[in-house]
Symmetry: C2
Subunit: 421 residues, 2 copies
């Protein structure tokens, strides 16, 4: 037997990041055939029409103007107090749910997921999320022996599939006694779906019904990574109020991230926000997550915290930041509309897109289709059940053109499969 | 029974950070009685004589001159390739051990400890470190169900207690089959001890003896957080060469951190460096740790990585950085010498100090003594077996004065205990 030094639980396939690899290949292709001829829809970040990463100037001006000491100092384990306040202010924007709210800083949204999942699930537990989901949910879970269970995200009408949600919810809670549910909305990665206010009511009504049995414990984890790229900034935040006054055996955790809203991907700054009608449960949330901070990364990027705080606490800076951010949001909306329109014109089936960075195309053999598309100089990300196209990273013009290229390859693929069959 | 939502394994005493609290109290005292009358020896960071955090200008000039895009972009999961090379260059400084070396970026040294411990130990395992140790080793371990076992750091002569080390090593390896050993050297936190080259030979000779049984797996984890504050920068790194050509069932992991050497505490940037004579074991290290990165924090602070890389890759910048850093190191050496001299004069027993940020004073009832000292406006950190005095944070003048204050309180305490007995 080959010698191995790692623990059994730490043996994984030796894989490099697929998105990173595809993106590198796209870059190489750009050098070879000219970037105007390559569509790189792999990257989950805002990229301008020339292929450069967009950075919000207001954010970086603030970042670079920090005194050295404010960058250098250790932050508090759970985050600076003023940062915690700033997170609530920018995330809820006045729609604070009634109840007890605690904030724990984390390295990006990923760190918030880790903190919450570790503390609110047991080894062997199944975590519930939709069938279309961001794969790191699974990676974060499986690292610590958790599994992922899925409900169908869409019903036949292309709406949130509340029936499938209920069914899986019941299956898990009756088996485990507790449940940890991840909902990534608005601007779901990878589909761009946003749960409507009415659908939230259905989700919460059902959760409350289950919660009548006080022995059941329900954690609703809401990943709002893309909330700053929803058409209506005000309307998109109203749903936060719904998490006030819930039964004390329903804990809501919101994952906040600076990555997208502040084009601060590389800073690794976010937070887990716990909301409970019971103060002791909120305190428990705070101290359990803080323990995990210490036990995983100690504390977070001080400069990133200060940057957020200085912007949020200064109404003039906040206004400038929002204006600049919304300019890019408008760009994103135009790109997405182009893609959706283009798809309609060539009858390419896409999943219901509402907001955010990505649009998904359901298909068979995603990996093969993805490879075929690279031959046409179109690079996107293969998922289990389809393809993810990053409208955030592709110009409006190319977003318009892409659906036809994808449609053609899917058709070729289909006839190939039929011939083989 | 009171309602609780967290998993059983996530229930911890609800404690705030004791060092942070003590430091806050010291600050308040400074405001009340004047900072010249307060000694704040709690902080594990370089503080100038006026009580301000020291920041190496060369580091922050580089940091602030980065293009926005180099700050904003996601880093690769395991770290940028040029960062990985820069880490090896600055850490080993030419003393690269022979063999297969892999680097995985981490949020500070804490993140490197987490990555290594998680992947190379099993739940229930005992991790071996010295009886004087940095408490987060325990916190990181216990969060995931690992325990800490201790060998006695010092023998009667104030040298590394190789006999105690061997005894505990055998006890654990015969029970578990594997062992994970943490040695924090040079400039051990909290004692300031540095394992000598001869002592390293003893440690390695014994490890190799045990490793003759190929079923045994030995991981030597070496935390070099304070290596940049050793009197002789060149001599202090020679021991790295000893980790080359070890048996393949001994894996060495070095924890590198930018926190102290680059006064970049708040940036959270470090790395785990794996060294193995077997290439496959080195690859396994890389992929297992990379999986954990993705599953905990995704990726690390891009700006911090770039800062290190730009400095290390430019010989002029590197020279300026080192000159500036060594100025502060010289200051630290003078402070430590003052404290050691002051202790000798009043016959205060201290542990053998060699290098680094801290000096430890063994005593009974550390918490009570610590409280008593606050009444004399001296703030330091109580440990299990004594007190930790941060020479990094206290002026030379105050370092000279402090031993007498501590000695007096210890004497009072002693006579109090005797009267009570």
């Amino acid at each position: 037997m080959k010698l191995s030094m790692v623990a059994d639980h730490a043996k994984w396939p030796r894989e490099n990041d697929i998105i990173f690899n595809l993106s590198e290949r796209a870059q190489k292709a750009s050098e070879e055939v000219g970037k105007e001829n390559v569509i790189n829809a792999t990257i989950g970040a805002l990229i301008d029409d020339d292929g450069n990463l967009i950075t919000i100037k207001n954010v970086y001006d603030q970042f670079k103007s920090l005194p050295n000491r404010e960058i250098a100092a250790y932050a508090s384990i759970a985050g600076q107090d003023d940062y915690k306040e700033a997170v609530k202010k920018i995330c809820f924007a006045g729609n604070d749910p009634k109840g007890n709210i605690r904030v724990v800083a984390s390295p990006g949204g990923s760190g918030a997921i880790k903190l919450a999942m570790w503390n609110y699930t047991n080894e062997g537990d199944a975590i519930l999320t939709s069938d279309w989901y961001w794969s790191p949910y699974g990676i974060i879970g499986e690292e610590a022996g958790r599994k992922v269970a899925n409900f169908k995200l869409f019903n036949d009408k292309g709406e949130f599939n509340i029936e499938s949600f209920k069914e899986k919810f019941k299956e898990i809670i009756y088996k485990q006694g507790n449940i940890f549910i991840i909902i990534n909305s608005p601007g779901h990665n990878p589909t761009g779906y946003s749960v409507s206010d009415k659908e939230w009511d259905q989700i919460l009504d059902f959760s409350k019904k289950i919660a009548k049995d006080k022995s059941k414990k329900i954690v609703l984890f809401i990943d709002v990574a893309y909330i700053d790229y929803v058409k209506d900034d005000v309307a998109s935040r109203k749903f936060f109020k719904k998490f006030g006054n819930l039964p004390e055996n329903i804990l809501t955790i919101v994952a906040f991230s600076m990555s997208k809203g502040f084009t601060a991907y590389g800073m690794r700054m976010g937070a887990a926000i716990g909301i409970s009608s019971n103060e002791d449960i909120a305190e428990e949330f705070y101290f359990s997550l803080m323990h995990s901070c210490r036990a995983n990364w100690s504390n977070c990027n001080r400069a990133a915290m200060s940057t957020l705080t200085h912007i949020v606490d200064d109404s003039k800076k906040l206004k400038s930041y929002k204006e600049e951010k919304n300019k890019y949001k408008d760009m994103l909306v135009r790109r997405a509309e182009s893609f959706v329109q283009g798809a309609k014109e060539v009858e390419l089936e896409i999943l219901p897109y509402r907001d955010g960075f990505f649009i998904s195309i359901p298909c068979d053999n995603p990996k093969e289709v993805c490879e075929k598309l690279t031959e046409k100089n179109l690079y996107l990300v293969p998922l289990k059940m389809g393809l993810r196209f990053a409208v955030c990273a592709v110009s409006e013009e190319k977003c318009k053109k892409a659906p036809k290229i994808i449609k053609d390859v899917l058709e070729e693929n289909k006839s190939l499969s039929m011939n083989l069959a």
